[in-house]
Symmetry: D4
Subunit: 147 residues, 8 copies
């Protein structure tokens, strides 16, 4: 069995790289999908492809349309979703992707520091599993392969 797992969440730091390396070390048979992680490329992909836009709002709008194209397609191909929330970024899009996963019956693992429990309590209630670290999320994935 091979699983596809989408890694929703902010694109700062290298948390996805860390997660993938650890998964590899654990020999998990999982393909990880993710949003564009290069921050500038993600913000400017719209203008890069479609051309300069008249306003900053339009720049954001065309980039969002292409980033959502990518997310929708990859989410649809995934068996499960891991969504990570950190202290620094609001990441409403992560909550949006997590909720879309739930609506599509794709089980969700939520990673969040305990300090975010209160503002995330409704999403936590909808997630299938809530953990605090990348290692714990991988242990949950690993558990699916056991027996």
């Amino acid at each position: 069995m091979e699983l596809n797992v989408y890694l929703a969440g902010h694109i700062h730091g290298e948390w996805r790289k860390e997660l993938k390396e650890k998964a590899k070390a654990m020999n998990l048979s999982v393909n990880f999908f993710s949003p564009m992680e290069e921050h500038d490329r993600s913000d400017y992909i719209g203008e890069e492809i479609i051309g300069e836009q008249p306003t900053p709002l339009q720049r954001d709008a065309v980039s969002a349309s292409i980033n959502n194209f990518r997310t929708q397609l990859l989410l649809e191909k995934s068996d499960a979703v891991i969504a990570l929330f950190g202290d620094k970024y609001k990441q409403w899009n992560t909550a949006m992707d997590a909720s879309a996963a739930i609506s599509k019956n794709k089980p969700l693992i939520l990673i969040r520091p305990q300090s975010l429990h209160h503002p995330l309590k409704e999403l936590e209630n909808k997630a299938q599993v809530t953990v605090e670290t990348i290692d714990q999320a991988l242990q949950v994935l690993s558990y699916v392969f056991e027996n």
Copy 2:
């Protein structure tokens, strides 16, 4: 024709009261549903019904389960959703509810100050309409009744 519209968003201030009064003044035939707007009641409803919990996390968890019960039921009965984002609160649950509405094919009106355009760009892309004020959202609703 009578519409049901769910008002997702933070529960501080009196934006829903303002919106309902203005809708009434416009003679819109709309029933508005909303989350519990009394902040403390929303936070403590779990302990109030189920009893004292061993940890603050558990207190949040039981309250979230009851608040989500309410939201899921009312969202299902709604024809459209208005989601309001303001400067002060992270409101991941609003993004979650907005995304659930989209997945259920209920058209979404997003109200947000222009200053939030960048962090909300992906949700804005998924919303059917984005506006900046309550009055604009009501004009959109009103437009559905015209002809």
Copy 3:
């Protein structure tokens, strides 16, 4: 707003009568649906309508087909489901109805004595709210009407 709520669970004792009377006393605008509560009628409805059956298995089979007809139809018309588990009966059909409600996006309130927590833990995890008493379940319903 008027809600339809299906009351899944065993048909011994008078828990539904108690629940309905309390809901009436609370002025909740809720129509309650339920399975046939007269035990013998539920067990013999198949033979009563279709005629004597060659074996006890067949008697059960025809009654089950008619009881499930009723449940499927009423569940489909419901906005939410309350499922009650007690100490005495296995009631796999209650777990089946509760799971069907979840699959249909109808939020579920689970009522169970704390002593049943371990064998019900997976269903509890899927339920939107878990409580221990009828009064608590009604408080959850009542909360949906507040504001």
Copy 4:
């Protein structure tokens, strides 16, 4: 053609091992998925991954969330489900999984001793096939490959 079949049911004894060996002897091209069969691991997986919990209820709750993550993911990947009920355990979760399979249009084979016919009659009515032994269930699977 290769099929994926989820084996729902209690995790005592070695019925799944027996079933898999017999399927292998019959050269059935079937991948079997199952819940965690090591009983203690299943009960403590929550605390093992997430850490010690304040109450026995919480211990159960976190384990259930991870066990349901596994079940939801594997059920979604399955073409059919076999659910086994035995005399000793209540296994409401098996009824829940069986009902979820039915809602997802995955045909269900129910294995139960004839003595359980009465309490299982509604689930039996919803199952696509009801048999009494593992061998019979495998004959049904085998029949799909014939011609």
Copy 5:
């Protein structure tokens, strides 16, 4: 509670009139929907509305398109379906409508003489209830209103 029930089946004789009169005598709160029962009108409705057709096949094709428009719309508005099979007619369209009802999660009552058991066995297996007479079908409907 008021139910909508679609009466699928052949349009010869007056079985629907008999059924409706008996339902009225039983005070069942049910609206019955049905196909066009005037046989010639059903066969020629296409030419009547759209005009003369070049071939008998085309005449059938345009009538079928209008009859299916009616059936699809009324089936969608129904809570349950009764499908009657008799000895004389092939009525593949009844089997088609019955199967559509099942796919839409609308519970099906099949009425057929016992003599048709063998050729109808697969549909019988999919139906929620199988009976032999109109009176039995009405007793099943009546049972939904009891308690």
Copy 6:
């Protein structure tokens, strides 16, 4: 029985007014929904509500978002859809709405002059009924109420 029918198609001329008057003369119990028929209002509704836009493309974009909000909401509330194509306008949006109706299992009546048969052949194949005049479309609706 009361039906809701959405009238998709161009917003030039007064075809909807004619259709509604004829339906009234026929005493059909039908509520008709439609897009904004005042052409300029439809084109400028975006700027009217949201404010002046930097480019003609943006003006169109915001108006389209509000017109689609209206269409999605009204289509969802409809039991059937009538889509009219005329000689003069490309009306890709009508084809889009018609296809959305089909995907939502809402039966479609297509009105088109015979001269458009070739370019509309694929949509005609998906429509439940194709006619050439408003009167014919109303006869189809009327047929649903007969018996």
Copy 7:
């Protein structure tokens, strides 16, 4: 590209063998699924697996449950369905399977002699393509691979 196609229809004669051989000769990359074609085995599979039944009706019932298990599973794995009707058999189950395919958005090719046009007109209207011979059905399949 490889397609899975289910061959619904009666199990007399050797029409499926003929179809498969012709498809092979045309080098079509198609896996064909079908019901059990050995007539007696299909009728007695229930008793063979589950044991002797008290009545002929019960014998049919258990066989139908196993045949439908097979059909449901194979239909779900198919990309398209071919349904053949001949002069001799009522084959309500073929109409049932064809209608299920349509509900699942699997395009249907109907093969029928022209003489059956009238009784099959409603199913013909729902089918995506209607032809008279096996060769024509294969030409339609072949067309999907062209370009």
Copy 8:
């Protein structure tokens, strides 16, 4: 990861050939599906397979049924859809296919010259991404594979 992408749009000129060659040059791991691109074959496939038809309308009707069979099957197997509109053709079928893709949650890239912005504004609003050239569409696809 390998993607399937359906190329909706007119079948004049060689835009699909150009697109495929460019995709190959970019080493995109994408299988492209498309309608029959040989115009005459597309128009006459019905008569070729089913035989001469009594009227030009019937000729179109049988060809449309076979072309839609192909489209429905290939669209269902696709992960995303590219729809191209050009100046010359009405192509209501392209708008129909694009809308079907949206309803099936398959993200849509719309290619259109800027001059068509006004008549396409509603479809543009529903598309996930709108571009003006084939190269831009391929850049969007390519973006999904990056990181």
